[in-house]
């Protein structure tokens, strides 16, 4: 009971500190908000870029088109042979009939294409082996191996769309975001700590009489320190709420569009509420840590207990 009465009084006193210095409170909240926005934007950029890299990686494969006179049995032998290769994750056989069916399905709304396909007497689609590698780096070697294989004559075309350049670019963008983001974060965290440190130091100065009397009449250490910590933590809570409200539309509206732009046609990133909540929790934790550090430093320096 006593504990809760004291806790309530500490929180009340902390909020009162904040209201007495409303402009300083505003400055502290602002700098904390900016820090959190930078953190959130960097995190979201990181998420969307790594998501793009992943979805591009999933799309990379080597399509081996066989000449129309090669029998299915021969192709399946080659498939089994390829599956024995440790670099290869999977080999998918698509027969010419299946290929035609897939094509018709994908274009069923386009009557012109279907009509012109029906004009043909032969099936124009070759039988295909779609090869996926375990590692991105292995694709050129696998493509090379196919080129030099004994059954090269049976193959009409080896189609290997080299997406590695795009992936490399995205990866270097990812590295840039991490490096630049970390530097920016460190700088703003330091600024936030300094600003909140000064705000709390000033509050301590303004309340020095009260603190002295508190000590005199037997206030415990945490009863004296509590309000200053509450004040600093309040800045982080307000900043986290503002930041969340600002990144909410970015996350659910803009990110899917950016995702579509980066990797058109791929699995489009559609805002996952779990990731969003995760971002909010992380920023709240970081804000709490920053507030706690700066207020504890200020108390250590200026508050005589």
């Amino acid at each position: 009971m006593k504990f809760f009465i004291s806790l309530l009084r500490i929180i009340k006193s902390g909020v009162m500190n904040l209201r007495r210095n409303i402009w300083l409170a505003a400055a502290s909240t602002l700098i904390m908000t900016i820090t959190l926005i930078i953190l959130s934007v960097m995190t979201l950029l990181f998420i969307i870029t790594s998501y793009s890299v992943q979805s591009i990686q999933e799309r990379v494969d080597i399509s081996t088109y066989f000449k129309s006179d090669v029998s299915e049995a021969r192709i399946l032998v080659i498939r089994d042979e390829l599956q024995g290769d440790s670099r290869i994750a999977s080999v998918n056989y698509v027969s010419s009939a299946e290929a035609r069916q897939n094509f018709e399905e994908n274009n069923r709304d386009d009557q012109l294409i279907i009509d012109s396909l029906n004009e043909l007497t032969d099936n124009p689609f070759p039988s295909t082996l779609q090869i996926k590698a375990n590692n991105l780096e292995d694709y050129p070697a696998i493509a090379n191996m196919l080129e030099e294989s004994s059954y090269r004559d049976l193959i009409q075309e080896i189609n290997f769309e080299d997406n590695r350049i795009i992936i490399e670019r995205l990866n270097s963008l990812l590295t840039f975001i991490i490096t630049f983001g970390l530097i920016l974060m460190v700088v703003f965290c330091l600024i936030a700590i300094l600003v909140i440190f000064n705000t709390i130091a000033l509050t301590i100065y303004n309340r020095r009489e009260e603190v002295e009397i508190m000590r005199l009449v037997g206030a415990t250490n945490w009863y004296i320190r509590g309000p200053f910590l509450v004040e600093a933590l309040t800045y982080s809570v307000i900043a986290a709420i503002i930041t969340s409200a600002l990144i909410l539309p970015i996350y659910f509206q803009m990110l899917p569009k950016i995702s579509n732009y980066l990797t058109p046609g791929a699995n489009i990133f559609s805002g996952d509420i779990k990731i969003f909540l995760g971002v909010i929790v992380v920023q709240l934790i970081i804000a709490f840590i920053l507030s706690a550090i700066s207020s504890l430093l200020a108390m250590r320096k200026y508050l005589r207990i």
Binding site: M1, K2, F3, I5, S6, R9, E209, E210, E212, I213, M214, R215, L216, V217, G218, A219, T220, N221, Y223
Partner: protein, 225 residues
């Protein structure tokens, strides 16, 4: 109740207290007299743990001040009321709120505070000033609010450090009368002062300090410096 044993205290290289031995019994009223800088305030500060002694020991009941943990000091301070020359009231709070402040700190409920504060203000004779701010009161009244605040935790010991220092004769006499009344109600009082005529009127035990040493002890004494 209080036992100073060979207490020595230095401020840098200056010896503020030199080998002080003093025994205070429960319910006593003691005047500590001496000039400014004689060491009176230092003795009071040692009693509330505001300063640490360098040699000797101080016992308050069975609490050894040389061994008390820092985290236990607040609880000790609730058993000891303190009053100062510069009063130290919160200017933006009324008499009631200033006294209530002390009770809030130790987690008393609002009901207890609303019940106790008027009683304490009545004891110090300030019921009519309950809702006045410090700047609306005379020096003596302010000091009586400060005394009321120091009584909020029903202390067993009241330390008054030059409580009449800034007051005129009439107000000073009022404050001393109040301290005597509190003493009669059972609280041990230690009054540090250099106001000789007040001490002469009190007619209780007087301890004279000079240069950090006790130079005279009298029952029902007079100020002899």
């Amino acid at each position: 109740m209080i036992e100073f044993k060979k207490v020595t205290k230095y401020y840098n290289n200056h010896k503020a207290l030199n080998n002080i031995n003093l025994h205070v019994k429960q319910g006593e009223f003691i005047s500590l007299v001496g000039m400014s800088g004689a060491g009176k305030s230092t003795m009071l500060k040692l009693l509330v743990g505001e300063e640490q002694l360098d040699d000797g020991s101080i016992l308050i009941d069975d609490i050894d001040m040389t061994k008390i943990r820092k985290s236990d000091l607040p609880y000790l301070r609730r058993k000891i009321g303190v009053v100062f020359q510069d009063i130290k009231l919160l200017p933006k709070r009324t008499a009631f709120e200033n006294v209530a402040f002390a009770m809030e700190v130790s987690g008393h409920t609002k009901e207890q505070i609303n019940k106790d504060v008027p009683r304490i203000l009545e004891l110090v004779g300030l019921t009519h000033k309950t809702h006045n701010f410090p700047h609306e009161m005379s020096g003596g009244e302010k000091q009586r609010v400060a005394i009321a605040r120091s009584l909020a935790h029903r202390p067993v010991l009241l330390l008054a450090d030059e409580p009449t220092g800034n007051l005129d004769e009439i107000n000073a006499a009022e404050v001393i009368d109040l301290l005597l009344k509190i003493n009669e109600l059972g609280t041990t009082v230690l009054l540090a002062t250099h106001a000789s005529d007040l001490v002469n009127k009190i007619k209780k035990r007087v301890i004279t300090i000079e240069g950090g040493q006790i130079t005279m002890e009298q029952e029902k004494g007079k100020y002899k410096l």
